[in-house]
């Protein structure tokens, strides 16, 4: 096998029912959505209760971490260096935690879906590890607008907002 930088076969984020919230497969291990779902189902049933950090299924090595109702997975081949996979997992987990700050849970993730999707894209590009440091990933993922202070919004926006407010009060 030729040495290559394409190490990550997939990154997943599942919810408490095993549904995919966020994730991507980077090679053709599971070409169809049906196979992906079947794999995720097996993966979820075997890992959501166990606190093992690492498991081997279907000739794949999967490292995982969970918090509240979020389950993080990084998938690689069985010959892959597990420590590298764990470093990717930790970066993914820490970044999402930084983004969701107050409450790392499904509800918050849904609210910050755009930022989290961007973060995943900054961590891994088509199977190549792009960035491993959560702080760097955070820098590259822009801060969302609603968190920006009022002063930075244009006057037009503020006026429009006030108008909307008044309208709704009158209804």
């Amino acid at each position: 096998m030729n040495p290559s930088l394409y190490l990550v076969k997939g990154i997943l984020l599942l919810d408490n029912d095993g549904n995919r919230l966020l994730g991507k497969y980077y090679d053709s291990t599971f070409p169809t959505i049906k196979e992906q779902r079947a794999f995720e189902k097996i993966l979820f049933t075997k890992t959501h209760k166990a606190n093992g950090e690492i498991i081997m299924i279907d000739g794949l090595t999967i490292v995982y971490r969970s918090i509240v109702d979020l389950h993080f997975y990084v998938i690689g081949s069985t010959s892959e260096n597990e420590i590298i996979l764990v470093s990717v997992l930790n970066c993914f987990y820490d970044t999402i935690s930084l983004i969701l700050k107050r409450g790392v849970e499904k509800k918050a993730l849904i609210d910050y879906m755009d930022t989290c999707t961007l973060a995943l894209d900054e961590i891994c590009d088509s199977g190549i590890i792009l960035e491993i440091d959560p702080m760097s990933v955070m820098q590259r993922v822009s801060v969302r607008e609603s968190d920006v202070a009022l002063g930075e919004q244009t006057l037009f926006d503020v006026l429009k907002m006030a108008k909307d407010q008044i309208k709704s009060n009158f209804k």
Binding site: L22, E53, G59, T78, V86, D114, D121, Q165
Partner: protein
């Protein structure tokens, strides 16, 4: 502002999830919002997120749908919102392969990639490279070169990684950037260095010398990035594997030096590389094993897993090297992570010695109850291989397995245990009695019907041959009283076998069977009546044919033959002899590499045998339709040396009166087209060549088949023959690229092949007789032939191997494996001769001083057959 925040909070507490139940049509409808001015960034961003989420969930977009959405998206470049722009890049990447004309955003992306905002530049490069093709690449080449050496790490990384992706479609352009890439390897940033090194390797990988230089250069100047180190170790290891002549010490030394790196990641990578190298000796393993031993006690599960996984790998090739870690491995048996525990056990079982087995089994027993069935099966498999390794320890294992059988467990688990016990019984005669009694106990309280029937079948086969067969009858008869119909039927069959094998037990068996004649189930009643009547005849031949050695056909073949018979209009009764007998397969042995549970995908249907496939192929050819049923197909034999111009393999298909030679031909010359290919044969041994079937065309590298039909001589004693073979054909020179012939006129040519031999074994089909003695009596001494031979064989094993090969018969009752340390042995073999005659052979062998003396006795239902078989030895 406050109000806005509040309303958002309300939404949240309401638990509304905008991504739940998204409908493709309505989401695509929403993309119309992109055309509004001014652009509502927040709203548009949400729509883009929805699209991404939808694609991520596996929703399939048709090209027209995607194109439409894509064009709407291009409007969003007018908006300056950071978040929106970033999401836009992501969507472009996702749609690059679905939508048409994606290149229209090239200029917008180029502008972003060369702009001032670092936050745009990296992602813009990655998006741009995704939509660009080779011709477009030229126009952005200048920017790419600049980006690779950009001082911003995100821009540089993005450019390097995108270049790696681009290498797949057009390496030439990327190769021109080698200077910039080399510069980037010296970056201070760990990821940039890693990406640059990966790209540099991809650019140079076909140049062995350059790669060796690359490794030695970077192994001296220390890299900052542990990821780059890991990659360099892989490159070095790959280089070592590739080198056929000589062993580059500097490369290996580099890998070994990495064992002392400060990062665990690099240390483990180096250790695992050393273990995987084929050229590694046990001496070189020592330092790697030492490192892995330390990792075994790491607090991180993934490190322990990595260590024990690699140790497990070593234990297959160099078990002795791992013994140093046995204590660490034993600590891991109780690891919380079951994958680690199981790997530890299987490793220990491979490295452990006989004296440690008892202790190990005790340890395993202590945690068996805590683990899932799946891992228990792994343990059971490991025990099986251990049993084969240390046959003397069967007592410990047997009682361990028995206690596992008594515990609760699912079907797969129980099946694995029963299979293991059966395998041990078959391998080790000493374990038979205890194994059978454990199984008897098991079926007393067994919820799984297939297992109960399987055990009953085994009892029927093995029970009568034990010292006290009577004690098993009670267990079997209990099933007749207590169980469901399937099990009762199996029990009745098992009882009949005891009756047929032992005269002492016969009267009691008849009494028991008589009771079952009143059973409420049809099958059980039928079986009981049938067996009762046969047994009460007290005729050995009858019992043998219908109870002990029953039908030996493959179910798939039988089904097919019956179907054909039903479709044809005929007065003739169905002839069971047309059905090919079942192929005797090697008993399954657990491979040494079973380490972790694999998901078993059950095959629904038993596959058709090789012979069935041949039979189908041949019957489709009109020339061979009248030959009757196919009796036997030989294994393919090469008639050419490897790596010659043409490759020809021969398969011999024996029919009752004919033989069809099938020649699988392959043309390995790409500038030739062969036509009218035929294999001419000639012989002096009485065989008559009837017809040839040519292979009309044999293009380069496409297999073709030619056949030759010969008639077997009328004289039944004349069976062996040698055929001279010549490959004849018309050659047409052709264009190697297109395969089109240069001119229509070809020329005749021929090519000498090796001779084809027809031997006795081509006329015989193997048949396994579970009870050889009964069949021996059944056939009787009428056509018996007895002779003695002196064979110059170095050992009994060698002699047995040769006899089986020459005669082509099936060894029965495990007589093909002589007991160790004995000089005499009796080999029993059985088969069917062409035309459906039973053949039984008993060879008494005695070894003394460099030779084997053999007394051969052959019995058959035909008078000529014994002579023919004897020819095989002479």
């Amino acid at each position: 502002m406050l109000g806005k925040k509040d309303s958002k909070k309300d939404d949240e507490s309401g638990g509304s999830n905008p991504f739940k139940n998204l409908e493709k049509a309505s989401v695509l409808q929403e993309t119309r919002t992109f055309n509004e001015t001014p652009i509502n960034a927040k709203k548009c961003c949400l729509i883009l997120t929805k699209i991404l989420y939808m694609i991520n969930q596996g929703e399939h977009l048709a090209p027209t749908e995607a194109t439409q959405a894509f064009f709407a998206m291009t409007k969003l470049f007018q908006c300056k919102d950071v978040m929106l722009r970033r999401m836009l890049y992501l969507c472009i990447k996702e749609m690059a392969n679905i939508a048409n004309d994606v290149i229209i955003v090239t200029s917008s992306l180029t502008k972003d990639m060369t702009g001032k905002e670092d936050i745009y530049r990296g992602p813009a490069i990655r998006a741009l490279c995704r939509i660009t093709d080779n011709t477009m690449l030229q126009s952005i080449e200048r920017y790419m070169k600049q980006a690779i050496v950009d001082k911003s790490r995100s821009v540089s990384s993005a450019a390097l990684v995108s270049s790696l992706h681009l290498m797949k479609q057009g390496p030439e352009v990327v190769k021109r950037w080698v200077n910039e890439v080399s510069e980037a390897v010296n970056s201070d940033n760990v990821m940039v260095q890693y990406h640059a090194l990966g790209l540099l390797y991809q650019i140079k990988k076909n140049d062995k010398l350059a790669i060796t230089k690359l490794v030695s250069k970077f192994s001296k100047s220390s890299l900052r990035s542990p990821y780059a180190y890991c990659f360099l170790i892989r490159v070095a290891a790959h280089q070592l594997e590739e080198e056929k002549d000589g062993f580059d010490k500097t490369l290996f030394d580099f890998i070994e030096s990495c064992l002392r790196h400060k990062s665990d990641m690099v240390i483990y990578e180096a250790a695992s590389a050393i273990v995987s190298l084929k050229c590694t000796t046990s001496k070189e393993l020592v330092s790697a094993v030492g490192v892995l031993q330390l990792l075994c006690s790491s607090p991180k599960p993934s490190l322990r897993y990595a260590a024990v996984k690699t140790l497990n790998k070593i234990s297959i090739t160099h078990p002795a090297a791992v013994t140093a870690c046995n204590i660490d491995l034993e600590n891991l048996i109780t690891d919380q992570n079951r994958s680690i525990a199981t790997l530890a056990i299987t490793t220990l079982l491979k490295t452990g010695n006989e004296s440690g087995v008892d202790r190990l089994m005790k340890q395993i027993a202590s945690f068996m109850s805590e683990i899932s069935d799946e891992f228990k099966i792994v343990v059971v498999d490991a025990i099986q291989s251990l049993c084969l390794k240390f046959p003397r320890k069967h007592n410990v294992m047997m009682s361990f397995l028995a206690s596992m059988l008594r515990e609760d467990g699912g079907f797969e688990y129980k099946k694995a245990i029963v299979n293991t016990i059966i395998a041990i019984i078959e391998e080790n005669p000493e374990a038979k009695e205890s194994g059978l009694s454990h199984l008897c106990e098991f079926i007393e309280d067994c919820d799984f019907l297939p297992l109960a029937t399987r055990v009953l079948h085994l009892l029927g086969r093995e029970g009568p041959r034990t010292t006290t067969p009577a004690k098993y009858i009670r267990y079997i008869y209990n099933r007749v009283i207590l169980e469901s119909a399937e099990v009762r039927a199996a029990a009745v069959s098992a009882l009949a076998k005891f009756g047929a094998s032992s005269d002492d037990l016969l009267p009691s068996i008849l009494v028991l069977l008589n009771r079952s004649k009143l059973d409420e189930d049809d099958e059980v009643r039928d079986r009981a009546t049938f067996f009762y009547d046969i047994l009460s005849q007290n005729d050995k031949a009858l019992s043998s044919a219908y109870i002990l050695n029953t039908l030996n056909v493959s179910p798939v073949s039988l089904e097919r033959a019956l179907l054909q018979y039903n479709q044809s209009v005929t007065e003739k009764p169905f002839d069971i002899k047309v059905v090919p007998t079942i192929e005797v397969t090697e008993s399954h042995k657990p491979s040494a590499e079973t380490s972790l549970p694999k998901t078993v995908k059950p095959t629904d249907k038993p596959a058709a045998s090789r012979q069935d496939l041949y039979s189908e192929q041949l019957s489709a050819i009109p020339e061979f339709a009248h030959l009757g049923p196919l009796f036997k197909s030989s294994a393919p034999v090469d008639l050419t040396e490897p790596e010659t111009e043409y490759s020809v393999k021969c398969v011999k298909h024996t029919f009752t009166n004919y033989i069809v030679f099938q020649f699988d031909c392959l043309n390995t010359l790409n500038d030739q087209l062969l036509e009218k290919v035929v294999v001419k044969m000639d012989t002096a041994d009485g065989y008559e060549i009837i017809s040839y079937k040519t292979c009309p065309k044999l293009p380069y590298n496409t297999p073709g088949v030619a056949y030759t039909l010969v008639k077997i001589p009328e004289d039944p004693s004349q069976v062996v023959a040698t055929f001279g073979c010549n490959l004849k054909f018309v050659v047409k020179d052709c264009d190697p690229n297109t395969g089109e012939p240069d001119n229509e006129e070809g020329y005749q040519d021929e090519y000498g092949l090796e001779n084809v031999e027809v031997t006795v074994s081509d006329h015989v089909q193997k048949v396994l007789k579970p009870n050889f003695g009964a069949s021996w009596e059944e056939v009787g001494a009428e056509n018996e032939l007895e002779d003695t031979y002196a064979l110059s064989m170095p050992s009994l094993e060698e002699a047995i191997k040769n006899i089986i090969q020459f005669m082509g018969l099936q060894p029965c009752e495990r007589t093909e494996r002589p007991p160790e340390g004995k000089n005499t042995h009796v080999l029993l073999m059985a088969g069917i001769y062409r035309g459906g005659h039973d053949v039984l052979v008993r060879a008494k062998l005695a070894y003394n001083d460099g030779g084997v003396a053999m007394q051969l006795t052959i019995r058959s239902s035909d008078s000529i057959v014994p002579q023919v078989i004897a020819q095989a030895v002479g």
